[in-house]
């Protein structure tokens, strides 16, 4: 029975451990197993320690970059930019709707005046009647175009809803980042000062970051 075990695990084990594994001495076998497991654990803990330090360093740099360099400078700026996009697009859409409100009565008046002129008679070749007919066609086309223009403004609502989703996404990235800061701070031996789940306002975000030296 020992031969197949040697064939399976033998290649990665030192010869002395192999000997113990193959020996009939149960106590020595258990001790050898213990040593092997402990060695593996130590490797794992060392690797985890290195990983935590690297992670903490990376988060420190990221926090510094967010505060000092990148464009947009911070998550707050990114959120503000998107809020500005929402605001500007809303203003633009309202201006278009204002224009429709101004022009619609004009188109209606032109159409109505043309109808009155045409109602007064005059033959087909009368330049006044020709112009009135053209004016009426134009006014009706304008009214139709203005209605389309109103509907087209719904782009602002549809685009705005997507922008709001992006704002939500940025908030989730921000809270994940803060969770990372808290976690790496705790791994580096510092007490986590606040529950990240409770961080909601910008002040709290800034305070938490500053407590970790960001």
């Amino acid at each position: 029975m020992t031969a197949p075990m040697t064939a399976v695990v033998g290649e990665s084990l030192p010869p002395e451990v192999l000997d113990l594994l193959n020996s009939a001495d149960g106590t020595a076998f258990e001790q050898a197993l213990d040593v092997m497991v402990r060695q593996r654990e130590q490797h794992l803990f060392r690797a985890l320690g290195v990983l935590a330090r690297d992670l903490h360093g990376a988060v420190c740099r990221l926090g510094g970059d967010l505060a000092n360099e990148g464009v947009p400078e911070s998550m707050t700026d990114a959120r503000n930019y998107l809020a500005e996009v929402l605001d500007m697009s809303s203003q633009a859409a309202h201006r278009s709707l204002d224009f429709v409100d101004r022009m619609r009565p004009e188109a209606e008046a032109l159409s109505s005046n043309a109808r009155t002129v045409l109602g007064n008679g005059g033959n087909e070749s009368d330049p006044v009647a020709v112009l009135a007919r053209q004016a009426q066609v134009f006014a009706n086309a304008c009214a139709e175009g203005l209605n389309d223009m109103v509907l087209v403004q719904s782009w602002q609502d549809l685009a705005g809803q997507r922008v709001k989703k992006v704002v939500g996404f940025i908030e989730s990235v921000e809270s994940s980042l803060l969770e990372l800061v808290r976690l790496t701070g705790a791994l580096a031996g510092r007490e986590a000062p606040v529950e990240v789940a409770k961080v909601s306002s910008q002040d709290e975000v800034d305070r938490l970051l500053s407590e970790f030296g960001f």
Binding site: L97, V100, V150, Q153, S154, L158, G160
Partner: protein
């Protein structure tokens, strides 16, 4: 007919109002609310004949507003038309189960709005006649 238009985007409220006026509804009788909570307060204090609401709104969403309307004895028969960008199956089913009278997916045209409104009023007239 008094209509309450509920949407958190002022642009969309204006567009819906514009379309309703184009279809012949009286402009001064159309009122606006920017979320479900505001709408519920207005519905409890003023008589309305119909609600046109968005789905995605802060504080109280359109589906929550619909459920609140159906749960309120004085308002439960109020016709509610949902006008929303949400077009997935589950949401449409949820709205139907909550008792929505009509469901329009944005962007939409005046023709679509007219069709849905006509259908709502036809059904109401039929149920009123049979009652």
């Amino acid at each position: 007919m008094k209509i309450l238009v509920v949407d958190d985007f002022s642009t969309m409220r204006r567009i819906v109002r514009n379309l309703l006026v184009e279809l012949g509804f009286s402009n001064p009788l159309i009122q606006e609310a920017d979320d479900g909570n505001a709408a519920m307060t207005m519905l409890k204090t003023n008589p309305f004949d119909m609600v046109v609401t968005d789905w995605n709104m802060p504080n109280m969403t359109g589906i929550e507003l619909l459920q609140a309307i159906r749960a309120e004895p004085k308002l439960k028969g109020m016709p509610v038309l949902m006008v929303t960008a949400e077009n997935n199956r589950e949401q449409i089913i949820a709205a139907a189960q909550a008792g929505v009278n009509g469901y329009i997916v944005k962007p939409f045209t005046a023709v679509t709005l007219k069709e849905k409104l006509d259908k709502i009023f036809e059904r109401l007239a039929a149920s009123g006649a049979s009652a």
